[in-house]
Amino acid sequence: MGISVEGANKSFGDFQALDDVSIEVPDGSLTALLGPSGSGKSTLLRAIAGLETLDGGRVLIDGEDVSKKPTQKREVGFVFQHYAAFKHMTVYENVGFGLKIRKWDKAKISDRVHELLRLVQLDGLAGRYPSQLSGGQRQRMALARALAVEPQVLLLDEPFGALDAKVRKDLRTWLRHLHDEMHVTTIFVTHDQEEAMDVAGQLVVMNEGRVEQSGTADDLYEHPANEFVMSFVGEVNRLGDHFVRPHDMEVVLDPDDRTQEGLVQRIVTLGFEVRVELVLSDGTEVWAQLTRAELQRLELREGQIAYLRPIQAKSFNGSSSSDSQGASTPPGSQDDGEAEVSAAV
Protein backbone atom coordinates (compact mmCIF):
# COMPACT_ATOMS: atom_id res chain seq x y z
CA MET A 1 0.00 0.00 0.00
CA GLY A 2 1.51 3.30 -1.03
CA ILE A 3 1.50 6.22 1.39
CA SER A 4 1.29 9.88 0.50
CA VAL A 5 1.36 12.92 2.68
CA GLU A 6 0.15 16.16 1.14
CA GLY A 7 0.95 19.58 2.53
CA ALA A 8 1.23 18.48 6.15
CA ASN A 9 1.46 21.22 8.76
CA LYS A 10 1.85 20.80 12.49
CA SER A 11 2.99 23.09 15.24
CA PHE A 12 3.47 22.60 18.95
CA GLY A 13 2.96 26.06 20.43
CA ASP A 14 5.50 28.29 18.72
CA PHE A 15 7.45 25.39 17.30
CA GLN A 16 6.68 24.51 13.69
CA ALA A 17 7.30 20.77 13.59
CA LEU A 18 6.02 20.24 10.03
CA ASP A 19 6.01 23.00 7.44
CA ASP A 20 4.06 22.07 4.30
CA VAL A 21 5.52 18.58 4.02
CA SER A 22 4.64 16.31 1.12
CA ILE A 23 6.09 12.87 0.54
CA GLU A 24 5.32 9.89 -1.67
CA VAL A 25 6.14 6.39 -0.44
CA PRO A 26 5.74 3.74 -3.14
CA ASP A 27 3.95 0.47 -2.41
CA GLY A 28 6.26 -2.15 -0.97
CA SER A 29 9.20 0.18 -0.53
CA LEU A 30 11.49 0.58 2.44
CA THR A 31 11.86 4.31 3.02
CA ALA A 32 13.92 6.16 5.59
CA LEU A 33 13.00 9.55 7.04
CA LEU A 34 16.40 11.00 7.80
CA GLY A 35 17.15 14.17 9.69
CA PRO A 36 18.60 15.69 12.83
CA SER A 37 16.53 15.81 16.01
CA GLY A 38 13.78 18.40 15.79
CA SER A 39 13.58 18.07 12.02
CA GLY A 40 10.00 16.80 12.17
CA LYS A 41 10.67 13.26 11.01
CA SER A 42 9.09 11.58 14.04
CA THR A 43 6.13 13.95 13.97
CA LEU A 44 5.55 13.06 10.32
CA LEU A 45 5.70 9.34 11.10
CA ARG A 46 3.34 9.75 14.04
CA ALA A 47 0.96 11.76 11.87
CA ILE A 48 0.86 8.89 9.37
CA ALA A 49 -0.07 6.57 12.24
CA GLY A 50 -2.65 9.02 13.58
CA LEU A 51 -0.74 9.49 16.84
CA GLU A 52 -0.52 13.20 16.01
CA THR A 53 -3.31 15.23 14.47
CA LEU A 54 -2.20 17.46 11.63
CA ASP A 55 -3.09 21.16 11.70
CA GLY A 56 -3.40 21.01 7.93
CA GLY A 57 -2.80 18.62 5.05
CA ARG A 58 -3.78 15.03 4.36
CA VAL A 59 -2.46 11.52 4.83
CA LEU A 60 -3.40 8.94 2.22
CA ILE A 61 -2.84 5.22 2.63
CA ASP A 62 -3.44 3.24 -0.55
CA GLY A 63 -5.15 6.29 -2.03
CA GLU A 64 -7.65 6.61 0.81
CA ASP A 65 -7.66 9.78 2.90
CA VAL A 66 -7.18 8.54 6.47
CA SER A 67 -6.67 11.98 8.04
CA LYS A 68 -9.90 11.70 10.03
CA LYS A 69 -9.49 8.04 10.96
CA PRO A 70 -8.39 7.26 14.52
CA THR A 71 -5.16 5.32 14.96
CA GLN A 72 -6.84 2.03 15.79
CA LYS A 73 -8.62 1.98 12.43
CA ARG A 74 -5.62 2.84 10.24
CA GLU A 75 -4.12 -0.66 10.38
CA VAL A 76 -0.57 0.52 10.74
CA GLY A 77 2.12 -1.37 12.57
CA PHE A 78 4.14 0.99 14.74
CA VAL A 79 7.43 0.31 16.48
CA PHE A 80 8.62 2.77 19.12
CA GLN A 81 12.18 3.71 19.96
CA HIS A 82 11.78 2.62 23.56
CA TYR A 83 9.82 -0.51 22.56
CA ALA A 84 6.59 0.42 24.38
CA ALA A 85 6.44 -3.17 25.60
CA PHE A 86 3.36 -4.01 27.66
CA LYS A 87 5.24 -4.59 30.90
CA HIS A 88 2.51 -6.55 32.64
CA MET A 89 2.17 -9.04 29.80
CA THR A 90 4.39 -11.90 28.71
CA VAL A 91 6.08 -11.94 25.32
CA TYR A 92 3.30 -14.21 24.11
CA GLU A 93 0.57 -11.85 25.35
CA ASN A 94 2.36 -8.84 23.89
CA VAL A 95 2.57 -10.35 20.42
CA GLY A 96 -0.98 -11.69 20.62
CA PHE A 97 -2.48 -8.40 21.86
CA GLY A 98 -3.70 -7.13 18.49
CA LEU A 99 -5.19 -10.52 17.64
CA LYS A 100 -7.03 -10.71 20.95
CA ILE A 101 -8.47 -7.25 20.28
CA ARG A 102 -9.60 -8.58 16.90
CA LYS A 103 -11.27 -11.49 18.73
CA TRP A 104 -9.36 -14.27 17.01
CA ASP A 105 -9.93 -17.65 18.61
CA LYS A 106 -7.28 -18.99 20.95
CA ALA A 107 -5.88 -21.71 18.69
CA LYS A 108 -5.44 -19.33 15.79
CA ILE A 109 -3.76 -16.75 18.03
CA SER A 110 -1.39 -19.38 19.33
CA ASP A 111 -0.42 -20.47 15.80
CA ARG A 112 0.15 -16.92 14.63
CA VAL A 113 2.10 -15.83 17.71
CA HIS A 114 4.44 -18.80 17.53
CA GLU A 115 4.93 -18.26 13.82
CA LEU A 116 5.97 -14.66 14.49
CA LEU A 117 8.16 -15.56 17.45
CA ARG A 118 10.02 -17.94 15.16
CA LEU A 119 10.37 -15.16 12.60
CA VAL A 120 11.92 -12.78 15.13
CA GLN A 121 13.94 -15.58 16.74
CA LEU A 122 12.26 -15.33 20.13
CA ASP A 123 10.95 -18.87 20.11
CA GLY A 124 11.23 -20.28 23.58
CA LEU A 125 10.95 -16.89 25.31
CA ALA A 126 7.14 -16.73 24.97
CA GLY A 127 6.59 -16.96 28.72
CA ARG A 128 9.08 -14.27 29.69
CA TYR A 129 8.16 -10.74 30.71
CA PRO A 130 9.69 -7.78 28.85
CA SER A 131 11.83 -6.94 31.88
CA GLN A 132 13.56 -10.30 31.43
CA LEU A 133 14.62 -9.53 27.85
CA SER A 134 17.57 -7.59 26.44
CA GLY A 135 16.97 -4.40 24.49
CA GLY A 136 17.41 -6.14 21.15
CA GLN A 137 14.99 -8.90 22.15
CA ARG A 138 12.43 -6.37 23.32
CA GLN A 139 12.60 -4.55 20.03
CA ARG A 140 12.19 -7.79 18.09
CA MET A 141 9.18 -8.58 20.27
CA ALA A 142 7.75 -5.14 19.50
CA LEU A 143 8.27 -5.81 15.81
CA ALA A 144 6.54 -9.17 16.04
CA ARG A 145 3.67 -7.51 17.89
CA ALA A 146 3.32 -4.90 15.15
CA LEU A 147 3.49 -7.51 12.38
CA ALA A 148 1.05 -9.93 14.03
CA VAL A 149 -2.01 -8.01 12.85
CA GLU A 150 -0.74 -7.96 9.25
CA PRO A 151 -0.67 -4.17 8.97
CA GLN A 152 -0.96 -2.39 5.66
CA VAL A 153 2.14 -0.41 6.48
CA LEU A 154 4.93 -0.71 9.01
CA LEU A 155 6.21 2.44 10.72
CA LEU A 156 9.35 2.41 12.84
CA ASP A 157 10.35 5.39 14.97
CA GLU A 158 14.12 5.28 15.56
CA PRO A 159 13.72 1.56 16.18
CA PHE A 160 17.38 0.89 16.90
CA GLY A 161 18.19 4.19 18.59
CA ALA A 162 18.32 2.79 22.12
CA LEU A 163 20.47 -0.23 21.26
CA ASP A 164 24.23 -0.60 21.28
CA ALA A 165 26.22 -0.49 18.06
CA LYS A 166 26.64 -4.21 17.48
CA VAL A 167 22.99 -5.16 18.10
CA ARG A 168 21.95 -2.22 15.98
CA LYS A 169 23.94 -3.43 12.97
CA ASP A 170 22.57 -6.96 13.31
CA LEU A 171 19.01 -5.74 13.61
CA ARG A 172 19.15 -3.47 10.61
CA THR A 173 20.50 -6.23 8.39
CA TRP A 174 17.76 -8.40 9.75
CA LEU A 175 15.12 -5.72 9.09
CA ARG A 176 16.25 -5.49 5.47
CA HIS A 177 15.92 -9.26 5.05
CA LEU A 178 12.54 -9.19 6.73
CA HIS A 179 11.36 -6.51 4.35
CA ASP A 180 12.59 -8.53 1.38
CA GLU A 181 10.44 -11.41 2.59
CA MET A 182 7.29 -9.56 3.63
CA HIS A 183 7.15 -6.64 1.17
CA VAL A 184 5.06 -4.57 3.55
CA THR A 185 5.46 -0.85 2.84
CA THR A 186 7.85 0.33 5.52
CA ILE A 187 8.90 3.76 6.73
CA PHE A 188 11.52 4.16 9.37
CA VAL A 189 12.84 7.23 11.09
CA THR A 190 16.50 7.67 11.88
CA HIS A 191 19.07 10.39 12.47
CA ASP A 192 21.88 8.06 11.41
CA GLN A 193 22.72 8.53 7.71
CA GLU A 194 24.73 5.33 7.58
CA GLU A 195 21.79 3.36 8.94
CA ALA A 196 19.42 5.02 6.48
CA MET A 197 21.67 4.28 3.51
CA ASP A 198 22.33 0.75 4.67
CA VAL A 199 18.70 -0.23 5.14
CA ALA A 200 16.47 1.92 2.97
CA GLY A 201 15.93 1.93 -0.76
CA GLN A 202 14.55 5.42 -0.66
CA LEU A 203 15.50 8.29 1.63
CA VAL A 204 13.68 11.46 2.59
CA VAL A 205 15.99 14.02 4.16
CA MET A 206 14.23 16.43 6.54
CA ASN A 207 15.39 19.56 8.27
CA GLU A 208 13.49 22.14 10.34
CA GLY A 209 10.11 20.71 9.47
CA ARG A 210 10.69 20.59 5.73
CA VAL A 211 11.71 17.97 3.21
CA GLU A 212 15.12 18.93 1.84
CA GLN A 213 15.41 16.16 -0.73
CA SER A 214 14.25 12.64 -1.42
CA GLY A 215 15.74 9.93 -3.57
CA THR A 216 17.96 6.88 -3.44
CA ALA A 217 21.09 6.84 -1.32
CA ASP A 218 23.21 7.29 -4.45
CA ASP A 219 21.10 10.23 -5.64
CA LEU A 220 21.52 12.04 -2.36
CA TYR A 221 25.20 11.33 -2.07
CA GLU A 222 26.08 12.17 -5.65
CA HIS A 223 23.58 14.94 -6.33
CA PRO A 224 22.70 16.61 -3.06
CA ALA A 225 20.22 19.41 -3.56
CA ASN A 226 21.84 21.72 -1.07
CA GLU A 227 24.51 22.19 1.52
CA PHE A 228 22.41 20.65 4.27
CA VAL A 229 21.83 17.40 2.40
CA MET A 230 25.42 17.22 1.30
CA SER A 231 26.75 17.58 4.82
CA PHE A 232 24.07 15.39 6.36
CA VAL A 233 24.49 12.33 4.13
CA GLY A 234 28.27 12.30 4.36
CA GLU A 235 31.38 14.03 5.62
CA VAL A 236 32.18 17.32 3.98
CA ASN A 237 34.88 20.03 3.96
CA ARG A 238 34.12 23.61 3.17
CA LEU A 239 36.51 25.52 0.94
CA GLY A 240 35.14 28.99 0.41
CA ASP A 241 31.82 28.53 -1.39
CA HIS A 242 32.65 24.96 -2.25
CA PHE A 243 32.03 21.66 -0.53
CA VAL A 244 34.36 18.74 -0.97
CA ARG A 245 34.04 15.20 0.38
CA PRO A 246 37.16 14.10 2.29
CA HIS A 247 37.69 11.21 -0.10
CA ASP A 248 37.65 13.71 -2.98
CA MET A 249 40.63 15.55 -1.56
CA GLU A 250 43.94 14.59 -3.05
CA VAL A 251 47.03 15.23 -0.95
CA VAL A 252 50.24 15.91 -2.93
CA LEU A 253 53.72 17.11 -2.01
CA ASP A 254 54.32 19.34 -5.04
CA PRO A 255 52.23 22.46 -5.50
CA ASP A 256 50.68 23.52 -8.78
CA ASP A 257 48.09 26.09 -9.78
CA ARG A 258 45.18 23.94 -8.62
CA THR A 259 46.42 23.15 -5.13
CA GLN A 260 46.14 24.84 -1.80
CA GLU A 261 48.80 24.79 0.88
CA GLY A 262 48.02 23.23 4.23
CA LEU A 263 49.78 22.33 7.45
CA VAL A 264 49.33 18.69 8.50
CA GLN A 265 48.05 18.85 12.06
CA ARG A 266 47.11 15.31 12.83
CA ILE A 267 47.16 11.92 11.16
CA VAL A 268 44.64 9.40 12.50
CA THR A 269 44.74 5.81 11.32
CA LEU A 270 41.35 4.08 11.51
CA GLY A 271 42.08 0.63 10.19
CA PHE A 272 42.29 0.78 6.43
CA GLU A 273 41.33 4.41 6.27
CA VAL A 274 43.58 7.30 7.23
CA ARG A 275 42.31 10.69 8.25
CA VAL A 276 44.70 13.58 7.60
CA GLU A 277 43.72 16.84 9.25
CA LEU A 278 45.14 20.04 7.81
CA VAL A 279 44.88 23.77 8.45
CA LEU A 280 44.88 26.02 5.38
CA SER A 281 46.65 29.37 5.27
CA ASP A 282 43.35 31.17 5.93
CA GLY A 283 42.82 29.11 9.07
CA THR A 284 40.19 26.74 7.61
CA GLU A 285 40.37 23.26 9.09
CA VAL A 286 39.81 20.44 6.60
CA TRP A 287 40.48 16.77 6.43
CA ALA A 288 41.30 14.32 3.69
CA GLN A 289 40.57 10.63 3.65
CA LEU A 290 43.46 8.54 2.32
CA THR A 291 44.29 4.87 2.26
CA ARG A 292 47.22 3.44 4.18
CA ALA A 293 49.08 2.85 0.93
CA GLU A 294 48.71 6.49 -0.08
CA LEU A 295 49.94 7.64 3.28
CA GLN A 296 53.00 5.42 3.06
CA ARG A 297 53.78 6.62 -0.47
CA LEU A 298 53.55 10.27 0.63
CA GLU A 299 55.48 9.66 3.88
CA LEU A 300 53.37 12.37 5.52
CA ARG A 301 54.22 13.47 9.04
CA GLU A 302 52.40 15.73 11.44
CA GLY A 303 53.72 19.32 11.26
CA GLN A 304 54.77 19.28 7.62
CA ILE A 305 53.38 21.29 4.73
CA ALA A 306 51.34 19.43 2.09
CA TYR A 307 49.15 20.46 -0.83
CA LEU A 308 45.49 19.73 -1.33
CA ARG A 309 43.79 19.21 -4.65
CA PRO A 310 40.00 18.78 -4.64
CA ILE A 311 39.03 16.14 -7.21
CA GLN A 312 35.42 17.23 -7.25
CA ALA A 313 33.58 19.94 -5.39
CA LYS A 314 30.13 21.43 -5.28
CA SER A 315 28.72 24.82 -4.73
CA PHE A 316 25.13 25.67 -4.04
CA ASN A 317 25.03 29.28 -5.15
CA GLY A 318 21.58 29.89 -6.52
CA SER A 319 18.90 27.28 -6.49
CA SER A 320 19.45 25.50 -9.80
CA SER A 321 23.23 25.40 -10.14
CA SER A 322 23.81 22.65 -7.61
CA ASP A 323 25.41 20.23 -10.03
CA SER A 324 27.33 22.73 -12.09
CA GLN A 325 30.65 22.38 -10.37
CA GLY A 326 31.66 18.99 -11.61
CA ALA A 327 29.56 17.10 -9.15
CA SER A 328 28.80 14.31 -11.59
CA THR A 329 32.27 14.13 -13.02
CA PRO A 330 32.91 10.55 -14.03
CA PRO A 331 36.25 9.14 -12.85
CA GLY A 332 37.67 9.07 -16.39
CA SER A 333 37.28 12.78 -17.02
CA GLN A 334 38.65 14.15 -13.80
CA ASP A 335 40.56 16.86 -15.54
CA ASP A 336 37.44 18.77 -16.57
CA GLY A 337 36.13 18.69 -13.08
CA GLU A 338 39.39 19.77 -11.56
CA ALA A 339 39.70 22.64 -13.98
CA GLU A 340 36.33 24.01 -12.97
CA VAL A 341 37.03 23.51 -9.33
CA SER A 342 40.47 25.00 -9.21
CA ALA A 343 39.23 28.03 -11.05
CA ALA A 344 36.57 28.54 -8.45
CA VAL A 345 38.45 27.67 -5.26
Binding site: A49, G50, L51, P70, T71, Q72, K73, R74, E75, V76, G77, F78, F80, H82, A84, A85, F86, K87, H88, F97, G98, I101, R102, A142, R145, A146, V149
Partner: protein, 277 residues
Amino acid sequence: MSSASGRSHVGSGIVSRWSLRILGLGFLALLLVAPLVIIFFETFKDGISPPLDAITSPNGLHALKLSLLMVVIAVPLNTVFGIACALLLVRHKWKANALIDSVINLPFALSPVVIGLALYLLYSTNGGWFGPTLAEAGLEVLFSVPGMVLASIFVSLPFVVRETVPVLQEIGTEQEQAASTLGANGWQTFWRITLPSIRWGVAYGVVLTTARVLGEFGAVTIVSGSISGKTETLPLFVSKEFERFSEPGAYGASLVLALLALTTLLAMNLLKRKEDA
Protein backbone atom coordinates in the same frame (compact mmCIF):
# COMPACT_ATOMS: atom_id res chain seq x y z
CA MET B 1 22.97 -5.38 54.61
CA SER B 2 25.47 -8.22 54.40
CA SER B 3 28.35 -8.76 56.79
CA ALA B 4 30.78 -8.50 53.87
CA SER B 5 29.80 -4.91 53.20
CA GLY B 6 29.89 -4.27 56.94
CA ARG B 7 33.53 -5.37 57.15
CA SER B 8 34.50 -3.11 54.31
CA HIS B 9 33.34 -0.08 56.27
CA VAL B 10 35.38 1.70 58.86
CA GLY B 11 34.33 1.51 62.52
CA SER B 12 32.49 4.81 62.61
CA GLY B 13 30.30 3.65 59.72
CA ILE B 14 29.16 0.65 61.70
CA VAL B 15 28.46 2.80 64.73
CA SER B 16 26.39 5.30 62.79
CA ARG B 17 24.53 2.52 60.99
CA TRP B 18 23.63 0.80 64.25
CA SER B 19 22.63 4.00 65.94
CA LEU B 20 20.37 4.77 62.97
CA ARG B 21 18.80 1.33 63.23
CA ILE B 22 18.25 1.66 66.95
CA LEU B 23 16.80 5.12 66.52
CA GLY B 24 14.44 3.94 63.77
CA LEU B 25 13.31 0.79 65.52
CA GLY B 26 13.07 2.52 68.88
CA PHE B 27 10.89 5.23 67.42
CA LEU B 28 8.60 2.65 65.84
CA ALA B 29 8.44 0.54 69.00
CA LEU B 30 7.69 3.42 71.31
CA LEU B 31 5.20 5.32 69.18
CA LEU B 32 3.47 2.63 67.10
CA VAL B 33 3.96 -0.83 68.51
CA ALA B 34 3.71 -0.15 72.25
CA PRO B 35 0.21 1.41 72.14
CA LEU B 36 -1.08 -1.47 70.01
CA VAL B 37 0.40 -4.07 72.31
CA ILE B 38 -1.10 -2.35 75.34
CA ILE B 39 -4.54 -2.38 73.75
CA PHE B 40 -4.13 -6.08 73.10
CA PHE B 41 -3.20 -6.84 76.73
CA GLU B 42 -5.79 -4.54 78.24
CA THR B 43 -8.51 -6.07 76.09
CA PHE B 44 -7.87 -9.59 77.34
CA LYS B 45 -6.95 -8.61 80.91
CA ASP B 46 -10.05 -10.36 82.31
CA GLY B 47 -10.26 -13.05 79.66
CA ILE B 48 -11.93 -13.17 76.30
CA SER B 49 -15.59 -12.86 77.28
CA PRO B 50 -15.92 -9.21 78.47
CA PRO B 51 -14.61 -7.68 75.23
CA LEU B 52 -16.42 -10.29 73.13
CA ASP B 53 -19.69 -9.55 74.89
CA ALA B 54 -19.23 -5.82 74.37
CA ILE B 55 -18.50 -6.17 70.65
CA THR B 56 -21.29 -8.66 70.05
CA SER B 57 -23.80 -6.47 71.87
CA PRO B 58 -26.44 -5.07 69.48
CA ASN B 59 -24.83 -1.62 69.54
CA GLY B 60 -21.35 -3.02 68.97
CA LEU B 61 -22.43 -5.20 66.07
CA HIS B 62 -24.38 -2.35 64.54
CA ALA B 63 -21.32 -0.09 64.79
CA LEU B 64 -19.19 -2.72 63.05
CA LYS B 65 -21.76 -3.17 60.28
CA LEU B 66 -22.08 0.58 59.81
CA SER B 67 -18.31 1.01 59.61
CA LEU B 68 -18.11 -1.71 56.96
CA LEU B 69 -21.02 -0.11 55.10
CA MET B 70 -19.08 3.18 54.97
CA VAL B 71 -16.12 1.30 53.45
CA VAL B 72 -18.30 -0.53 50.94
CA ILE B 73 -19.86 2.70 49.69
CA ALA B 74 -17.09 5.29 50.05
CA VAL B 75 -14.10 3.25 48.84
CA PRO B 76 -15.46 2.22 45.40
CA LEU B 77 -16.77 5.74 44.78
CA ASN B 78 -13.46 7.33 45.70
CA THR B 79 -11.56 4.75 43.65
CA VAL B 80 -13.52 5.48 40.48
CA PHE B 81 -13.37 9.20 41.12
CA GLY B 82 -9.67 9.02 42.02
CA ILE B 83 -8.66 7.19 38.84
CA ALA B 84 -10.75 9.51 36.65
CA CYS B 85 -9.34 12.56 38.38
CA ALA B 86 -5.75 11.31 38.11
CA LEU B 87 -6.27 10.67 34.38
CA LEU B 88 -7.64 14.18 33.99
CA LEU B 89 -4.70 15.71 35.84
CA VAL B 90 -2.00 13.75 34.03
CA ARG B 91 -3.35 13.12 30.55
CA HIS B 92 -5.47 16.15 29.76
CA LYS B 93 -3.50 19.27 30.46
CA TRP B 94 -5.69 22.31 30.83
CA LYS B 95 -5.71 25.49 32.81
CA ALA B 96 -8.00 24.35 35.63
CA ASN B 97 -5.65 21.48 36.55
CA ALA B 98 -3.62 23.54 39.02
CA LEU B 99 -6.83 24.54 40.76
CA ILE B 100 -8.21 20.98 40.82
CA ASP B 101 -4.87 19.78 42.11
CA SER B 102 -4.95 22.05 45.12
CA VAL B 103 -8.66 21.56 45.85
CA ILE B 104 -8.10 17.79 45.99
CA ASN B 105 -5.61 18.32 48.80
CA LEU B 106 -8.18 20.19 50.91
CA PRO B 107 -9.32 17.14 52.92
CA PHE B 108 -5.68 16.58 53.92
CA ALA B 109 -5.31 20.15 55.09
CA LEU B 110 -8.64 20.67 56.83
CA SER B 111 -9.36 19.28 60.26
CA PRO B 112 -12.07 16.60 59.99
CA VAL B 113 -14.13 18.51 62.56
CA VAL B 114 -14.21 21.48 60.22
CA ILE B 115 -15.26 19.22 57.36
CA GLY B 116 -18.04 17.83 59.54
CA LEU B 117 -19.17 21.30 60.47
CA ALA B 118 -19.18 22.42 56.84
CA LEU B 119 -21.34 19.45 55.86
CA TYR B 120 -23.60 20.16 58.81
CA LEU B 121 -24.13 23.75 57.64
CA LEU B 122 -24.77 22.65 54.08
CA TYR B 123 -27.31 19.92 54.85
CA SER B 124 -28.94 21.24 58.00
CA THR B 125 -32.72 21.23 57.59
CA ASN B 126 -32.68 24.40 59.61
CA GLY B 127 -31.30 26.97 57.17
CA GLY B 128 -28.69 24.85 55.33
CA TRP B 129 -28.22 25.44 51.60
CA PHE B 130 -29.39 22.01 50.46
CA GLY B 131 -30.97 20.60 53.62
CA PRO B 132 -34.55 21.93 53.37
CA THR B 133 -34.91 20.98 49.70
CA LEU B 134 -33.61 17.47 50.27
CA ALA B 135 -35.81 17.08 53.32
CA GLU B 136 -38.84 17.97 51.22
CA ALA B 137 -37.80 15.28 48.78
CA GLY B 138 -37.77 12.87 51.71
CA LEU B 139 -34.02 12.52 52.01
CA GLU B 140 -32.51 13.01 55.43
CA VAL B 141 -28.81 13.63 55.17
CA LEU B 142 -27.80 14.68 58.66
CA PHE B 143 -27.97 12.19 61.55
CA SER B 144 -28.32 9.32 59.10
CA VAL B 145 -26.31 7.19 56.73
CA PRO B 146 -26.19 9.56 53.68
CA GLY B 147 -24.47 12.28 55.71
CA MET B 148 -21.99 9.84 57.15
CA VAL B 149 -21.18 8.52 53.69
CA LEU B 150 -20.64 12.07 52.48
CA ALA B 151 -18.28 12.78 55.37
CA SER B 152 -16.38 9.53 54.77
CA ILE B 153 -16.00 10.30 51.08
CA PHE B 154 -14.85 13.83 51.80
CA VAL B 155 -12.10 12.94 54.26
CA SER B 156 -10.71 10.03 52.22
CA LEU B 157 -10.99 11.61 48.77
CA PRO B 158 -7.34 12.46 48.01
CA PHE B 159 -5.67 9.08 48.58
CA VAL B 160 -6.38 7.27 45.30
CA VAL B 161 -5.65 10.44 43.28
CA ARG B 162 -2.39 11.08 45.10
CA GLU B 163 -1.17 7.49 44.75
CA THR B 164 -2.23 7.14 41.11
CA VAL B 165 -0.91 10.41 39.66
CA PRO B 166 2.83 9.61 40.02
CA VAL B 167 2.36 6.10 38.61
CA LEU B 168 0.46 7.47 35.62
CA GLN B 169 3.22 9.97 35.01
CA GLU B 170 5.83 7.27 35.24
CA ILE B 171 4.26 4.82 32.78
CA GLY B 172 3.89 7.52 30.11
CA THR B 173 1.64 7.18 27.09
CA GLU B 174 3.71 4.99 24.78
CA GLN B 175 2.13 1.71 25.84
CA GLU B 176 -1.32 3.22 25.31
CA GLN B 177 -0.30 4.52 21.90
CA ALA B 178 1.09 1.10 21.00
CA ALA B 179 -2.25 -0.45 21.99
CA SER B 180 -4.13 1.97 19.74
CA THR B 181 -1.89 1.14 16.76
CA LEU B 182 -2.77 -2.51 17.41
CA GLY B 183 -6.47 -1.73 17.07
CA ALA B 184 -7.54 -1.15 20.67
CA ASN B 185 -10.14 1.60 21.22
CA GLY B 186 -10.00 3.94 24.20
CA TRP B 187 -12.00 1.69 26.50
CA GLN B 188 -10.02 -1.43 25.61
CA THR B 189 -6.77 0.47 26.09
CA PHE B 190 -7.89 1.63 29.53
CA TRP B 191 -8.90 -1.84 30.74
CA ARG B 192 -6.07 -3.81 29.20
CA ILE B 193 -3.14 -1.40 29.39
CA THR B 194 -3.67 1.64 31.62
CA LEU B 195 -5.43 0.03 34.56
CA PRO B 196 -3.11 -3.00 34.84
CA SER B 197 -0.12 -0.63 34.66
CA ILE B 198 -1.33 1.59 37.51
CA ARG B 199 -2.89 -1.15 39.61
CA TRP B 200 -0.38 -1.00 42.48
CA GLY B 201 -0.72 2.73 42.81
CA VAL B 202 -4.50 2.35 42.84
CA ALA B 203 -4.34 -0.58 45.27
CA TYR B 204 -2.20 1.40 47.68
CA GLY B 205 -4.63 4.30 47.40
CA VAL B 206 -7.54 1.93 48.11
CA VAL B 207 -5.83 0.57 51.21
CA LEU B 208 -5.20 4.05 52.54
CA THR B 209 -8.77 5.10 51.70
CA THR B 210 -10.17 2.06 53.49
CA ALA B 211 -8.06 2.69 56.56
CA ARG B 212 -9.09 6.34 56.61
CA VAL B 213 -12.81 5.58 56.23
CA LEU B 214 -12.66 2.92 58.96
CA GLY B 215 -10.90 5.25 61.37
CA GLU B 216 -12.75 8.49 60.63
CA PHE B 217 -14.03 10.15 63.78
CA GLY B 218 -14.23 13.93 63.69
CA ALA B 219 -16.35 14.62 60.63
CA VAL B 220 -18.61 11.61 61.17
CA THR B 221 -19.23 12.55 64.82
CA ILE B 222 -20.72 15.89 63.81
CA VAL B 223 -22.90 14.81 60.88
CA SER B 224 -24.07 11.57 62.54
CA GLY B 225 -24.97 12.86 65.96
CA SER B 226 -23.46 9.58 67.20
CA ILE B 227 -26.75 7.88 68.04
CA SER B 228 -26.07 4.46 69.59
CA GLY B 229 -27.36 1.56 67.54
CA LYS B 230 -28.32 3.95 64.75
CA THR B 231 -25.60 6.26 63.50
CA GLU B 232 -22.60 5.01 65.43
CA THR B 233 -19.55 3.67 63.61
CA LEU B 234 -16.84 1.69 65.39
CA PRO B 235 -14.64 4.69 66.30
CA LEU B 236 -17.69 6.48 67.72
CA PHE B 237 -18.59 3.30 69.63
CA VAL B 238 -15.05 3.16 71.06
CA SER B 239 -15.26 6.77 72.13
CA LYS B 240 -18.65 6.34 73.80
CA GLU B 241 -17.67 3.14 75.59
CA PHE B 242 -14.53 4.86 76.81
CA GLU B 243 -16.47 7.87 78.07
CA ARG B 244 -18.78 5.70 80.12
CA PHE B 245 -15.85 3.74 81.58
CA SER B 246 -16.81 0.54 79.78
CA GLU B 247 -13.20 -0.42 79.16
CA PRO B 248 -13.69 -3.92 77.73
CA GLY B 249 -16.00 -2.49 75.07
CA ALA B 250 -13.65 0.37 74.20
CA TYR B 251 -10.55 -1.82 74.02
CA GLY B 252 -12.31 -4.68 72.26
CA ALA B 253 -13.72 -2.43 69.56
CA SER B 254 -10.32 -0.72 69.20
CA LEU B 255 -8.75 -4.09 68.67
CA VAL B 256 -11.32 -4.93 66.00
CA LEU B 257 -10.52 -1.66 64.25
CA ALA B 258 -6.80 -2.32 64.44
CA LEU B 259 -7.29 -5.86 63.11
CA LEU B 260 -9.39 -4.59 60.18
CA ALA B 261 -6.65 -2.11 59.29
CA LEU B 262 -3.96 -4.79 59.55
CA THR B 263 -6.00 -7.17 57.40
CA THR B 264 -6.28 -4.53 54.67
CA LEU B 265 -2.54 -3.96 54.67
CA LEU B 266 -1.81 -7.66 54.76
CA ALA B 267 -4.20 -8.36 51.89
CA MET B 268 -2.37 -5.90 49.72
CA ASN B 269 1.04 -7.28 50.61
CA LEU B 270 -0.09 -10.83 49.84
CA LEU B 271 -1.55 -9.78 46.50
CA LYS B 272 1.59 -7.95 45.62
CA ARG B 273 3.83 -10.84 46.58
CA LYS B 274 1.74 -13.21 44.51
CA GLU B 275 2.04 -10.82 41.58
CA ASP B 276 5.81 -10.52 41.90
CA ALA B 277 6.34 -14.27 42.13
